[in-house]
Amino acid sequence: MSLPSNFPRHEVIVLVAVILLAVVVGSFNSGFFTFFNIFSLLKNSTVIGLFAIGFFLVLVVGGLDVSFAAIGVVGMYGTVKLALAYYPDAPFVLLFAVSALIGAGLGLINGLLVTRLRAPSLIVTLGTLSLFRGFLLYFVGTDTIRQVPRAMTEFNRINVFVVTADNGAQVGLHISVVFFLVIVAIVFLVLRYTTLGRSLYAVGGNPVAARRMGINVEAIETFAYCAAGTLAGIAGFFSAVRLRLANPQTLTGSELDVIAAAVLGGAAITGGKGSVIGVFLGVLLIVITNNSLIILGIPATWQKVAIGVLLLVAIGLPLLARGRTTASRLATGGGLVRVGEGPS
């Protein structure tokens, strides 16, 4: 579909929204534009951002993966359990790799099921969501582990770009943000400059055309789910690193922020659209909204309403921007998007 002409415009809209929100919040609270606050906003964006980029990769191929939070929890809790049982002194890199691998494995299961069962991906991943979560909580454990492996707590103390604030306090950028930004850069480059990345857009844009071009559609789709699982495993792992504890009942239930971020960033549920930059901006918008409601004097109970309205507006914006009137929908006959289907 008309990819290049559409999405810079949407990204600009989101960027303007982020800047406007920042200016409004900054005028209410002078502490907003300090290194401390900006670093902490970025730190808060890491987990939701990693989830959102994984979710976005599946959206690009025209699928919908709602099991990411469950995958993140299984990766995180499974890694901690394994490490404590067999190798408590495991180096950080190994722990990181194990969590990512567990995520990749579960993502592969998603990918195989979606491509083999030929059922809507939303329904398949709803199934795997409760399968993974139920498995973890019934067969692995329900207790919160407060003594995570030492490598994780040590890693959590690392800060880079340490600057001294006005009041003399040392503030630094958390190391997990660096990991996050590197992953954003990698996904950006892969999507933009590699055959693999272009194939993802091609499959999402028009699976039939992609197949005729010689793209192995099933393999590309499976890859997207696998990559999303890997990123979810990493996100879950970083959430445990930041909290210094492994709770198997976290993350699930917070999916909506992630979905809202990806949709805000311009990813279309029909596939083949959106960019990593857009998703990154969407994540910032959600995180700033969540963090600023209290600064703006809005009670915390309104948070869900704010996210819901933001989500509904975000879905509507591209529809308006594309000028998709009812007449054009009637002409193409494809206005109402079917569950988990791309345009075909």
């Binding site: 199934g127 139920g134 239930g253 494809g334 109402l336």
Partner: protein, 346 residues
């Protein structure tokens, strides 16, 4: 006709499965499983999830989905609870019927409003059903949180008779669920609305081109879904005598699982409400059975695991049948659509 026959073979399978599971459990624990107490409690438990399943099934028939069912149900019970608790001091004991009636009207209005809002987003603005109802789900939960401040509302005793009442020893909620299923079945299988709906689910373009008012159709589908969710919320309020935003968070998944198990095709156009009713019974039997066999604290998580596995197995087994089924269905209905189209352009 061919469509009906092929779906009926699925109904026979479901009926057989329900009878087998009930028979096995009955033989294993005759004193507990077949006791009137247990049967009544199973009927009571399945009525809320049953109504939610009908709500999601009717949208799946159009190829859409309604993820906001549970949020709508909870919002309904919250609004009704707030209105009733502000009225109860004024109304005496003999005003119980009036209060119940008022609650029903308010509840249905809330549900219809939620459903029409979904329908507006989907049919008029062109939102995709998944994203629209995901957004409204958050919005409805948010409004519920604002109204309750995140707390649970208690003590709406004037309405308890509605949830705990029974007719001929059958719980009232179960009767309401079965009545709703019956009315919906008639609407879908004996009225023009149902014919258009199945047609839309199996061939959207043909429906548009045959001059059917698709907007009104989709609006009414989501309004029906909202109303059914509202009834589920009202029953829940009556049974538990409390209302909060977090109730039944896993019900959305369960309702989708029941619909798919009951033979509703996720891509639309095929499936019957009677299948959904049978699937509700099967899942309720299994749930009670798991509770009887595994009386440990973690059996909720085992259930979650089992539901996920069941959904995937049903998709895998049903997947072989669906392509053929939907081809047959769309071939069948395309001829009708062509007829309807030529009739519209004389």
């Amino acid at each position: 006709m061919r469509l009906l026959q092929s779906v009926d073979s699925r109904l026979a399978t479901l009926l057989l499965a329900a009878a087998l599971i009930a028979g096995t459990l009955g033989a294993m624990r005759p004193d507990t499983f077949l006791s009137p107490l247990n049967i009544n409690s199973m009927l009571l438990q399945s009525s809320v999830i049953g109504l939610l399943s009908l709500a999601v099934a009717v949208t799946m028939l159009t190829g859409g989905i309604d993820l906001s069912i549970n949020a709508t149900a909870n919002l309904t019970s919250i609004v009704v609870a707030i209105v009733l608790s502000s009225l109860v001091p004024a109304g005496g004991g003999n005003a119980a019927i009036a209060i119940t009636f008022l609650a029903l009207v308010i509840g249905l209005l809330v549900g219809l409003a939620c459903g029409l809002f979904n329908g507006f987003l989907i049919a008029i603005l062109g939102y995709s059903p998944i994203l629209a109802t995901l957004g409204t789900m958050t919005l409805f939960v948010g409004i519920g949180t604002v109204l309750t401040g995140g707390n649970t509302l208690f003590g709406i005793s004037a309405f308890a008779a509605f949830g705990r009442g029974s007719v001929f020893d059958i719980p009232l909620p179960a009767i309401i669920f079965l009545l709703a299923a019956l009315v919906l079945s008639l609407l879908l299988e004996a009225r023009r609305f149902g014919f258009y709906l199945y047609l839309y689910g199996s061939n959207e373009a043909a429906t548009r081109f045959s001059g059917i008012n698709v907007r009104t159709l989709i609006l009414s589908v989501y309004a029906v879904s909202g109303a059914l969710s509202a009834v589920a919320g009202l029953i829940n309020l009556g049974v538990t005598n409390s209302a909060n935003v977090d109730f039944g968070a896993s019900y959305v998944l369960l309702a989708i699982l029941i619909s798919v198990l009951g033979g509703i095709s996720p891509s639309g156009g095929a499936g019957r409400m009677i299948g959904v009713v049978l699937a509700v019974l099967i899942l309720q039997f299994l749930s009670t059975g798991l509770n009887l066999v595994f009386q440990s604290s973690g059996s909720n998580f085992l259930k979650e695991f089992a539901w996920g596995a069941t959904l995937l197995v049903v998709l895998a087994v049903g997947g072989r049948r669906y392509p053929w089924l939907s081809r047959a269905a769309s071939a069948h209905e395309r001829t009708h659509a062509a007829k309807a189209g030529s009739a519209a352009q004389p």
